[in-house]
Symmetry: C2
């Protein structure tokens, strides 16, 4: 038992590894946060507590867009530009190999190939089983761990499925929406709610025959933004065109993000937004844990008794729920 | 105080009124279930408990479809056909006057005009403020109350906003989807999830120049259904065409519902489905009440203390949530 060789590194080893920028320690720590074993959860909280003072210094950027918009080529070009400038980039992304309809097989194989070889880049793909459009319950922990490991730009990629954008918006400083030229409906229709979340909109693939269309799409986006409520941060959403393959407009996107950062820093919004996000995170975990607590032995027994009674129409669900909560809160 | 004249009827009066089929007692009882006052909640549960033995005998039918598909004209024609056959029909519907984009002003004024004059029909519009696409937190109570008042067919109308269809599907025996001829995209695209919930699909407005298109739409729907997983009930979704203004195909819809009822009754699915719905109702209320309980004075105080700590980044939300639940469950 106690003599068995431990293959998992200790909290101390992980802490040391992460603070020295060791990518494999970072990867292992993220895996630890994703574990459902309660002993791992205790470890993971203890590790994060130690690292807390070393977190928070990065700019956290959410990147979204429909499949095919060119998210991975954009991230590749954008990430390489950043490392050329001496920055360390963490990318929390989607594992395309475990997704059904994202991109072609060829595209998947070469996805972020150059970026993944860059020593100043850490890429963490989320398996689709865990992820909702690329974001998991543990993306926030992964952000903190990347920050502790010295990454100063964190990119969180998501695809537009259900509420994943809203969730990512709730954990980043800057939210970037990639759109395709010529996909007019995309801008007006279903993506409207997402446009309202965006601090920046990038029209991708503005190269070759697409240049004119991209300009048109930029104009459309600007017009749509014109009718939008001003954002809480007081920032006016910027629209740009880029070509990832021709490497055009990429550093301009970074310029916009830096402008935003300076704007939101000055106004205090950046700080306030992060504080709110912390609160929101707590509320979310409290609610998640409520469902876990429902599995508590005593509670589960009471619940199954009540379920049986309502199932047989002996007791009204309304009444059973009253009983349930009366019991739970009797010592409050 | 005690001498003040009470204008609200007592539980006993409401019970008597409902059991004798008094529509105004029924309406008052539904209003009581919608009240947020805790004294009203106690009353409402006590009333429902008394009426419980008189509930459950109706067929509960959910009706959905996009605005403009002709839901209210269909319900008017369908309801009148049913009362002509000697049935009592309860309609839980949307109040169009409090909705922004539903139908024209003229359409609103004459909405279900004939049906609402029928003495064997009870129509209850839900104010949009309370309702998610026509369904409220208290629609289930309204169903029970209608049943106790002797209504044997209950129609629950909803529009496709967000999850309202899923919610209604979870409280009815039969789910009817109305679709428009010629709106091909409707069938394939966004409504796919809803098609899968439907026990019957009705192509509306199959009259005049639309007859051919309606037949085409019927064929499209059948083809789409062909590729669908068989439903849990073992029932094969039926597709029909109707004309509410020419009163064509309306009684055929009822025939399909009766077939379904007999099929699902024989297999035991009808009963089992209702039992599951009761359980689901309990789970929902338990969860709703969790949010109410968060407002408890002691709990709220602890929560706001923890929120402050995570806000200032002193404590990890993960850790704060652990503390929170440890405190709450200390007596479990």
């Amino acid at each position: 038992m106690a003599t068995k060789k431990r293959t998992t590194p200790s909290i101390q080893e992980l802490e040391k590894g992460i603070l020295s920028g060791d990518r494999s320690a970072l990867a292992r720590a993220i895996t630890l946060t994703e574990s459902t074993r309660s002993s791992d959860k205790v470890k993971s909280i203890s590790l994060l507590k130690k690292l807390l003072p070393n977190t928070g210094h990065s700019i956290r950027i959410g990147i979204t867009g429909v499949p095919g918009v060119g998210k991975s080529t954009f991230i590749e070009a954008f990430g390489q530009m950043l490392t050329r400038e001496g920055r360390k980039v963490g990318v929390l992304t989607i594992d395309p190999t475990s997704q059904k309809t994202k991109g072609s097989i060829l595209g998947d194989k070469t996805r972020m190939e150059n970026l993944s070889r860059d020593p100043n880049v850490f890429i963490r793909p989320s398996p689709s089983a865990l992820a909702l459009g690329g974001v998991t319950d543990h993306t926030r922990e992964a952000i903190l761990l990347c920050e502790a490991a010295g990454y100063d730009v964190i990119l969180i990629e998501t695809v537009g499925v259900g509420q994943s954008e809203t969730i990512v918006r709730g954990m980043v400083d800057f939210f970037l929406l990639l759109v395709l030229a010529g996909a007019g409906d995309e801008l007006q229709g279903i993506k409207k709610g997402i446009m309202e979340m965006a601090d920046g909109i990038v029209v991708t693939k503005a190269d070759g025959d697409n240049v004119k269309g991209a300009q048109q799409a930029k104009g459309d986006a600007l017009q749509a933004l014109h009718f939008q409520q001003p954002s809480q941060s007081g920032w006016k959403t910027k629209v740009l065109t880029t070509s990832s393959i021709e490497n055009k407009g990429i550093s301009e996107v970074w310029k916009v993000i830096e402008d935003y950062q300076s704007h939101a820093d000055k106004s205090g919004y950046l700080e306030e937004n992060r504080r709110k996000q912390q609160e929101q995170w707590l509320e979310e975990i409290i609610e998640q844990k409520f469902h876990e607590q429902m599995g508590n032995r005593v509670i589960a027994k009471m619940r199954s008794q009540l379920l049986k009674e309502v199932r047989n129409n002996k007791v009204l669900p309304l009444e059973a729920a009253e009983q349930f909560w009366k019991h739970i809160t009797r010592h409050w």
